[in-house]
Symmetry: C2
Subunit: 425 residues, 2 copies
């Protein structure tokens, strides 16, 4: 169990989730491991605002289809979120969709929510198998019975949404201290447990592998006690996701289930400045995204690919994605080989329509050493140190403009192959 839970056992109120929410996570036995696999997050208000961003994969899971529709019907409101791991309920057809609706109806009934559309659902796990309703429904019942505001439950919820994740992922922004804390150490998160009367943003996420643009095999639920309208929540979430979860790319594979939800209870009674809120929300989402990359299946390095001096931001983004997806480069980084030729080759495959640059005039820096200048040999490769640190920095200077973009990815390792060769549908 996560250390901070024991320490904060008697702490008043929750660490990660904000005022206006009750949560619970339980094991319904759908995960082979026996770990928690059902989470319920209830918005106790006063407001019941919700926004969602979902995978753009044309093949998407039943809960994605359901929740997208539900949010549209309610105009951006939700009273509860139901999440399960162990089964993605994807590629399960009509029957799978009925399972999602049935589970939402059951939770609505248990929580006396009149409109089932005010219950959102997210699932993660194996694709192409039916969810075990005989285990899922009793799990939902037990979760509702355990709904509370204890830090213990926060960890139970964070673990209930995990699949191949090795650590729970949590992040908090506390406006009273203006600090963003991620769930790596007890101290970081404890610093967020302020009792000051101010608004907060706090959330959890899961995701390791299959992390690609327009989200990952990921689920994230972010709560806030700031007062937001549905339109504001939607605008803020779209912005935050674009500059966080959409900027990580572990293996170029896009999931069928990706779901990011923002829930606002308004329990602080404070109406935030929207621009400030958007920035802080993006900060929390980015902190979660970084934890996801750091926990990507089998990786040994986190690689930050930054493309600078592009004509348009989208050009920088296209080039960064191309570099971040080069298996050859990702293997080279794993091998601590400063193989800048593979970087340049992956830049060169980007079409002129997708990025303006002179292929003969590109500079590349690896961990601060400009080993490639004007698309040719630069500083000595011997100067580049890769093996020492987990963090690897790649900078590609297109030298045609002033726009930039950054993608986070990993190296390609034996561990990645092992995990994904043995992980069975």
């Amino acid at each position: 169990m996560c250390k901070f839970v024991q320490k904060l056992w008697y702490n008043e109120g929750m660490v990660v989730f904000t005022r206006g929410f009750e949560i619970a996570g339980v094991s319904a036995g759908m995960k082979k491991s026996g770990r928690n696999d059902v989470a319920v997050i209830k918005n106790t208000g006063p407001n019941k605002v919700a926004a969602g961003v979902f995978t753009t994969n044309r093949v998407h899971a039943a809960p994605v289809k359901y929740s997208r529709l539900a949010l549209a019907k309610t105009g951006g409101n939700a009273e509860a979120v139901l999440i399960n791991s162990g089964c993605a309920n994807a590629c399960t057809g009509e029957r799978g969709y009925e399972h999602t609706v049935e589970s939402a109806q059951y939770l609505a009934q248990l929580l006396n929510i009149e409109d089932t559309n005010r219950v959102l659902v997210a699932s993660t796990g194996s694709i192409g198998k039916f969810i075990e309703m005989d285990k899922f429904l009793p799990g939902i019942l037990r979760a509702t019975e355990q709904l509370s505001t204890s830090p213990q439950n926060e960890f139970a919820v964070a673990s209930a949404i995990c699949t191949t994740d090795t650590v729970e992922k949590m992040a908090v922004y506390n406006r009273s201290t203006d600090t963003i804390s991620s769930g790596k150490t007890l101290e970081e998160l404890a610093s967020a447990t302020s009792e000051e009367n101010n608004w907060k943003i706090g959330g959890i996420s899961k995701g390791a592998g299959m992390i690609a643009p327009q989200l990952a095999t990921m689920i994230s639920v972010i709560t806030t006690d700031a007062v937001l309208t549905s339109a504001q929540a939607d605008e803020a979430l779209k912005y935050a996701v674009e500059y966080s979860f959409n900027r990580i790319d572990a293996d170029g594979c896009m999931s069928t289930n990706d779901t990011v939800l923002l829930l606002s209870s308004g329990a602080s009674g404070i109406v935030p400045d929207l621009d400030e809120f958007k920035e802080k929300l993006q900060g929390v989402a980015y902190a979660l995204a970084r934890q996801m990359i750091a926990d990507t299946e089998g990786s040994s390095h986190d690689i930050e690919v930054k493309v600078i001096n592009a004509l348009e931001e989208v050009h920088a983004l296209n080039v960064a994605r191309s570099v971040a997806r080069s298996n050859l480069l990702k293997c080279a980084i794993f091998g601590s080989d400063p193989n800048w030729g593979r970087i340049l080759a992956s830049v060169g495959v980007v079409s002129e329509a997708d990025a303006v640059f002179d292929a003969k005039n590109i500079d590349v820096a690896l961990n601060g050493v400009w080993i490639c200048k004007n698309s040719g040999i630069g500083e000595p490769r011997e100067l580049v140190k890769i093996s020492e640190n987990r963090a690897v920095s790649i900078v590609v200077d297109l030298k045609v403009g002033s726009k930039s973009a950054t993608i986070l990815t990993n190296d390609l390792t034996y561990g990645y192959v092992k995990e994904n060769a043995e992980y069975t549908t």
Copy 2:
């Protein structure tokens, strides 16, 4: 040394290369391994027709830039081809380009070729380092001294263009027997050593890893003694490449050096039917492409991704490429896991502009078992056998048209990671 060489030592004429060519391969010491790294192929005529297809990577090597230009200047003629391995001469700027020109000039001088543009050059190996001219030029001299039509030299040439390849790759079409033979067994190739007075097509290739659309880290030289005009050679080669080398995708990484050359000596004196020639040339190119996939770095399975019943061929191709590039799927195949969910997920990422299909109505067969029907659960996964054979067949039925396309790829293995982590620039 390849077995068939010893057996065919005294055989009249060459096995793979056709009449009208003299060849030689030597070691100039540019490869750490000491293996052959310089090859010269001389067209003795009577015709000196040549056509080329090159990488579309905007970052391309000096020899690619040079040879593309040379072919344009001569209107599709060449008297000799110079190939080196061990150094790609890519990302080497002006100096690298001068090295290529200098080497072409030197060979032209040695072979009394007045116009240097009638010498084509191809290089393969590490990117971002200069070619060692002090070794390269003496190697060129020795190669020209050894030019002959002996089968021994055929193997010397085939090995001289290899980098991480574990086997030489050769294929022949013999019209007198109407058979295509690839360089796997002695018998296959020997069957091509007919003395009949008819035209032949024969060639070699190298390539393992970094194999992606619009060619691979690959070099291929195909010769024929059929009588062709430059325009016919160009048309035939473009067609053959599109349906062979452009349909294999080992790791989605496109090289800076990919070069495919067709040389026609016209020594048979026979003018072929162009459509027949195109088909046979495509057959030879495809036989070479298959050998490249079979030899891709560290792979344990060859995966054929066939997309059927698409509205347009390009739609089928886009979907097949997306599936062939899913690291998650490629790992699953390595693990003998019939993970059709990952196949469907990789289909779903293809945009509606790139492929028309109903995401809820796709069938998928894995090694003949339709494990996915109507985007849902199909026949039992237990029926699928993967581990037994190297060949794996994936069929995706889009059910919206009648067009189809096939991409060959590999599984993603520890071996791939190892090879590409340790292969140093």
